[in-house]
Symmetry: C2
Subunit: 463 residues, 2 copies
């Protein structure tokens, strides 16, 4: 602990600070840290099994079912007082085949040239089928350019070439700004008669892995195929277009939406000793995309959630409030599990105290982002010295995440999310390289330690 | 910038703060950040060439010479006002062959069993030669145990099985505590007649890569072979020993110390506009171990040093003081380059203002550790809000590093080092997996941005 800062905080928040027993808290958090970092098997084996033995687990897939069964057993093994499931209907999109594409053009000698382009169909998208789509490429850098070219788009392939602002330090800012092109770019182009869209992958990476992710078709507009393109191939296409070439793309995708099917939230619980009816929720999402192992998205959030449970039970910690450790289903393309969780909480007249989520990768923790009242922030900042030894150095305003936001919307519950370092996340987000090997186990554990610390403090003092 | 914290700092250090023009500084640092993050080729290509085209570059090796030539050209390409070299004599240790080992034991059926063990000879160690060493293994967990067993060590192989305290958050703490077993364990065991030592690798990793590093033979004690063992094999050996088996190790290493040879520090300079005779030094080390690409140790420090130079020149920044960008030779097994640098500075009656080093990996930056007067820390902490947007959230007391410490020792110069997040460093430190692929380019660049910011501020305001 940085004693100078600690004293400073004491100075600024004398009432809160003096009312709290920081030395006990500091010692308990240290015992959590020792328990988690000192255990070389639990978290490691959980992540290994989920990623290497089960792998990608898109909603509706056989792997989703395997993951649900695994999660149930893992919660029991971690020592939950009880484990239960919540059924929900989930969308069932299948990729349906191997996505592939090429672009061709006439070179300076008048000869036709062609090059393969690495693509991945976007989640929820319709496929081209075996016939494929073959058409001229129109490149646009934003929706304004799309509108300028609207009369030229009929029968064409629109290529959304939107750079992923490298100069933004927080990579989620870039994602937040540009993900709309992946989300609704297809419908915006289809409105003007485009046959398909290619979208520059949402990544800072230097490799050629395409990054998939959910697409959302706008109502009453024709649904057209859509695929993400790897950055190296984007560079090649740019070079050709910049040199004045007219590109023709040929695209084969096979995506298909099957009828909704059954999925489950998996929930482990520690019963509250004083207020069992008041519930603190913590979780990550169990589903992932189909093209990788779903390691950082969100295997790490899942494993951290289970690890907090395991450490609490291992240390004999008895929370005042009931703590629910939730593996949410279907975050990636529907958030049906999260909606069901809030819906059932409302139906059961539950009291929701706080919701915490980890879904930004298992990277070294930097902070938490929290949606709460001003009073909450005074308290959080007073706690900061307790977190600093473990890497969390700030609480940001405004945070939650797709899986706990419905609690906030439904009940006004305060919600928050772990904020890991963001530099590596979009190198592997929704891409083939989101695998076990790209997770650092200690960094993931540090996240779990900070999550446990926050839950412990909120359980003890409220927010 | 976190405005609340910024105002707090203003409140605490009114005199310093009011004397400084933070908005100009903040804007300049932002321009550095945009320049570095916006350039997708310079730092990437430098690291790629150094690691993939040159690779491991131990002092005295042909790759060392290639790296020196490359470094000279890279400094010129980055726009240095002048580039020069400093010659120094460096130790010339060669591995001499493929290290290998096995352990054998009698199983419960009375049958001899054998298993290979992944080893790497320690740097500077003598080899077993083709005859190898074959002897019973005596395991000890610390020097106290060694002393307890001193009468049993004659003719044996001592196995230093010292766990790398997983529960320490800062991995360098564990390293600082236990590296002595790698450094002088061989001599301590040889004193009692041991034939060779095996040392548990200094790592938190879950893989089996042995981690080499410098050994130092104590005077007048017989020099015996010494090798690091991978952690998975350490676990296997432990299981057997814990089960009561007597292990016999067979070890083959071929290390040899050749006569000292010639190496060079490579130095690029920007001449000071007001105090050209006053020198600020920044650097990393150009040499590395032979078993990997020397990517995080210390390719990233080298590339960051060159990147700061490139960004400064690219932005037309004219420092008041002369800034020297130094690629130090022979940090790994002698620090002869660093010693030569300080020695020449003294011989030339130079004025040394500050020395900054990056040699803890190109991981996301967390802070700087600095050795300076109390006044220096007040100033540094007043600057903190300028760094926070780029990831540096604290200045720690006491820091420098092997390459800038001789400046402190010789002149009393204030010195400091970049403190990146430490979780991943000892997964790859001195091991075969310290390669280009395990560096995240954005994290490395963030380090360079913070280094540039600190140099800019020290040049402008002093420390």
């Amino acid at each position: 602990m940085n004693m100078k800062k600690f004293l400073l905080v004491l100075l600024l928040f004398p009432i809160i600070a003096s009312a709290q027993d920081y030395s006990t808290d500091s010692a308990f958090i240290k015992s959590i840290s020792n328990n988690v970092l000192g255990n070389r098997t639990a978290a490691y084996n959980n992540l290994y099994y989920l990623t290497k033995k089960i792998g990608g687990r898109l909603s509706g897939s056989p792997q989703m079912v395997l993951a649900e069964h695994w999660g149930f057993g893992a919660m029991k093994a971690a020592g939950a007082d009880s484990v239960f499931t919540q059924q929900c209907m989930v969308p069932h999109w299948v990729r349906g085949g191997k996505d592939r594409a090429s672009v061709s053009y006439i070179d300076s000698k008048g000869k036709q040239q062609s090059m393969p382009v690495e693509i991945l169909a976007l989640g929820n998208s319709v496929g081209t089928g075996a016939a494929g789509v073959k058409a001229q490429v129109i490149r646009v850098h934003n929706f304004d350019e799309l509108e300028q070219h609207k009369n030229e788009l009929k029968g064409k392939v629109v290529f959304y070439d939107v750079p992923f602002a490298d100069t933004l330090i927080n990579t989620f800012e870039a994602y937040g700004k540009y993900v709309i092109y992946r989300a609704i770019g297809a419908s915006r182009a289809a409105k003007y008669g485009a046959l398909a869209v290619m979208v520059r992958s949402m990544t800072n990476s230097m490799d050629n892995h395409p990054h998939t992710g959910a697409l959302h078709y706008l109502d009453s507009i024709k649904q057209i195929p859509a695929a993400a393109v790897g950055l190296v191939d984007v560079g090649r296409m740019d070079s050709l277009i910049d040199a004045g070439k007219t590109l023709t793309a040929q695209i084969f995708t096979y995506g298909k939406m099957l009828p909704d099917t059954i999925g489950h939230n998996i929930i482990g619980e520690i019963k509250g000793s004083e207020h069992p009816e008041q519930i603190i929720t913590v979780g990550g999402h169990l589903d992932s995309w189909d093209v990788n192992e779903g390691a950082s998205d969100d295997g790490t959030g899942v494993v951290q959630t289970i690890e907090v449970l395991r450490a609490f039970k291992s240390l004999g910690f008895r929370p005042k409030h009931t703590i629910r450790f939730v593996l949410f289903m279907n975050e990636e393309n529907g958030t049906r599990g999260a909606k069901k969780y809030a819906e059932l909480a409302k139906a059961n007249n539950e009291q929701e105290v706080f919701g915490l989520e980890s879904d930004a990768g298992g990277f070294t923790p930097r902070g938490f982002d929290v949606t709460t009242s001003t009073g909450g922030f005074e308290r959080l900042n007073a706690w900061l010295p307790l977190f600093e030894p473990y890497g969390v150095t700030s609480f940001g305003k405004g945070g939650g995440g797709a899986d706990v936001d419905p609690l906030h919307t439904t009940f006004g519950t305060d919600v928050g999310e772990l904020r890991p370092d963001s530099q590596r996340y979009f190198d592997l987000h929704h891409a083939a390289n989101d695998v076990f090997e790209n997770v650092n186990i200690r960094e993931m554990k540090l996240g779990a330690i900070n999550m446990a610390a926050l839950l412990y403090l909120i359980d003890k003092y409220g927010l």
